[in-house]
């Protein structure tokens, strides 16, 4: 058992943004949240790690309502990687990763060997062990995202939640980040935009639209041409690519002067 929601609802400014979602993550697997802009992906992720409280319904961790779990204890189980979080403060890579030890340390505890080991191990897992002392503001977007993942790993979580971790990264770094997430071996729940990457790297996919869960299951059963047409308003053909993997092809006119793809 791991993270699950039952009839979770949350809204802002009189509008329901997450509207009765019942969803369950499988232990040790990667669950992708897919949906158009404004479909409630980010909000649902924030409900899962209690950065927002559900208006109704419940979010459970191992069957226990997370509303009653102290935040520090929650942070030792659940780690969250935001979209492009940055800072003006002068920090180096190890300072950022050390923040991951916050929930493990009391106010008066001094830095110990276990903390140091967790930080070094986390940096190794994301392949940045040699960047230990590099200033944060000199890192590229992909490196910053990897440092955030290392920070999350230093929390020693059993569940990792990521909000569009590949946003604004070039394709090589997108693949590197998703490959890294895939290899972590812990329960991961992440919002993604790219349907093909979601199909490649997720064990299961949950499709959201207007705050409601439309379908959930293995990529093959969720990412059907019908569902994509209905929810994204885009015609697709699904074939097998050069590697034999499923490939989603967007059927839009790209020749100039032909009226364009058109969003209607």
């Amino acid at each position: 058992m791991t993270l699950a929601t039952r009839e979770a609802r949350w809204g802002a400014a009189g509008r329901m943004i997450v509207d009765g979602v019942t969803l369950q993550a499988a232990p040790g697997r990667v669950l992708g949240l897919i949906g158009p802009n404004g479909s409630g992906k980010s909000s649902l992720l924030r409900l899962l790690c209690r950065l927002r409280n559900v208006a109704s319904g419940v979010v459970t961790l191992d069957g226990q309502d997370i509303a009653g779990v102290p935040r520090r204890r929650l942070a030792r189980r659940l780690a969250f990687v935001e979209q492009q979080a940055t800072t003006d403060i002068q920090l180096c890579v190890c300072d950022v990763v050390r923040l991951g030890r916050t929930p493990h340390r009391t106010a008066l505890a001094s830095w110990n060997g276990q903390d140091e080991a967790a930080v070094n191990q986390a940096l190794e897992r994301v392949g940045l062990a040699d960047r230990h002392d590099q200033p944060w503001h000199t890192l590229s977007g992909g490196e910053r995202q990897r440092v955030h993942i290392a920070r999350a790993l230093a929390q020693e979580p059993s569940e990792l939640i990521l909000d569009e971790p590949t946003n604004h990264l070039d394709i090589r770094h997108q693949l590197a980040i998703l490959g890294l997430v895939r290899r972590l071996g812990i329960t991961c729940i992440m919002a993604l935009h790219d349907l093909n990457l979601a199909a490649m790297f997720c064990d299961e996919i949950a499709l959201l639209h207007e705050g409601r869960l439309q379908a959930a299951g293995p990529p093959d059963t969720v990412l059907t041409p019908n569902a994509i047409q209905r929810i994204f308003g885009v015609s697709v053909a699904i074939g097998s690519g050069a590697s034999g993997r499923r490939h989603i092809e967007y059927l839009v006119e790209t020749e100039p002067g032909s009226g364009g793809a058109g969003i209607d």
Binding site: R71, F80, L99, T102, S110
Partner: protein
């Protein structure tokens, strides 16, 4: 690749703490010996020993009074005030994630002066008993904090909006203060208040220290207990919460702590700008941005800066004492401009 060692290095810590203490003592010694009235160093030391250890060196009553009751209490108050304001600035900058945040810029000082002036001139009280000036200043600073929070929340809550809200709040409370002073105060009162509004250590006596010292010490202790938590705010409130920080509780505790520290200092010495702004930046430059080191550094550097600024305020113009706020602003304003300029650059 040499990995930085993060385990506490006790010998180095003790050396640094000793050096800081010696620097502080030197600054106080300087403040006690420099002044309008020339007093030989030996006499000064004897007067200090008399006052501190109840000894009986033959020192004239006037010298004894000037050294112990006037200069020493003044220097210690300057130190406490500088330390507390710098600490408050560091806390506000971390919580609001804005390099320009500090009690003066956010209008907390302005609110404290309104409260203090209301008590001084109007004799505002609760249930028939007149409030003390400190209590008035505290209520005023809390009111200002509430107004800033409301305005900032109304404007979307982004950290640059908090600064704009602070500017607006300062204006509101400064206008209220000016209204009270110009319409209700006698000419003599008005002059006293104006001098006090710019910061004035002249009226400080020992009883003031019995209030200021515990507040500064307790405030520092509360802040130090939150040092790790403050580090976790580096990437924003959501990041802090996901690291296990009880964000709302921490904010309430630390905002209240800075409000109390500011209010007490303002009620004793008046409003002193820029110390809370520039000292945290200077301290970051010295010890880095980790709060376990930054907060003590702010306390010490702020104290030393304010003691030196007070000495300058007394000797810059012979036969005259400049308001302390004038001296800190002379240094602070150019630094403020530099920070504004740097804030424009992408991170």
């Amino acid at each position: 690749m040499s990995h930085a060692v993060h385990e506490p290095n006790w010998p180095a810590r003790i050396v640094i703490a000793l050096a800081a203490l010696i620097a502080l003592i030197l600054a106080v010694a300087l403040a006690v010996t420099i002044g309008e009235m020339r007093i030989p160093l030996r006499t000064a030391l004897e007067a200090l020993a008399n006052g501190l250890f109840a000894l009986d060196f033959p020192v004239g009553a006037i010298e004894q009074g000037v050294i112990f009751d006037y200069r020493l209490s003044r220097a210690l108050m300057a130190g406490l005030c500088g330390g507390a304001l710098a600490l408050s600035g560091a806390i506000l900058q971390a919580l609001l994630r804005n390099p320009l945040a500090e009690p003066y810029v956010l209008g907390i000082s302005a609110g404290a002066s309104t409260g203090a002036v209301a008590v001084l001139i109007l004799g505002v009280g609760i249930g028939g008993t007149t409030l003390t000036v400190s209590a008035g200043a505290f209520i005023g600073s809390c009111a200002a904090l509430a107004v800033v929070a409301m305005l900032a929340a109304g404007a979307g809550g982004a950290s640059d909006r908090v600064i704009l809200a602070g500017v607006a709040t300062s204006q509101i409370f400064n206008a209220a203060t000016a209204t009270i002073v110009t319409t209700l105060a006698s000419a003599e009162q008005a002059r006293g208040v104006m001098f006090w509004l710019l910061g004035n250590f002249g009226g400080v006596r020992w009883p003031d220290l019995w209030i200021a010292a515990p507040v500064a010490v307790l405030g520092f202790a509360i802040c130090m207990l939150h040092a790790k938590v403050l580090d976790a705010f580096a990437f924003g409130v959501d990041a802090a919460a996901s690291l296990g920080v009880a964000v709302t509780r921490v904010k309430v505790v630390l905002f209240a702590t800075t409000a109390v520290m500011t209010a007490v200092m303002v009620s004793i010495v008046g409003t002193v700008g820029f110390v809370g702004l520039i000292i945290p930046h200077a301290a970051r430059f010295l010890v880095g941005s980790g709060h376990a080191r930054l907060l003590p550094a702010c306390l010490v550097v702020g104290a030393i800066f304010m003691i030196l600024a007070d000495i300058l305020s007394r000797v810059l113009i012979p036969q005259q004492i400049l308001p302390i706020g004038v001296v800190t602003a002379l240094f602070g304003a150019p630094v403020f401009a530099i920070i504004l300029h740097r804030a424009r650059l992408p991170a």
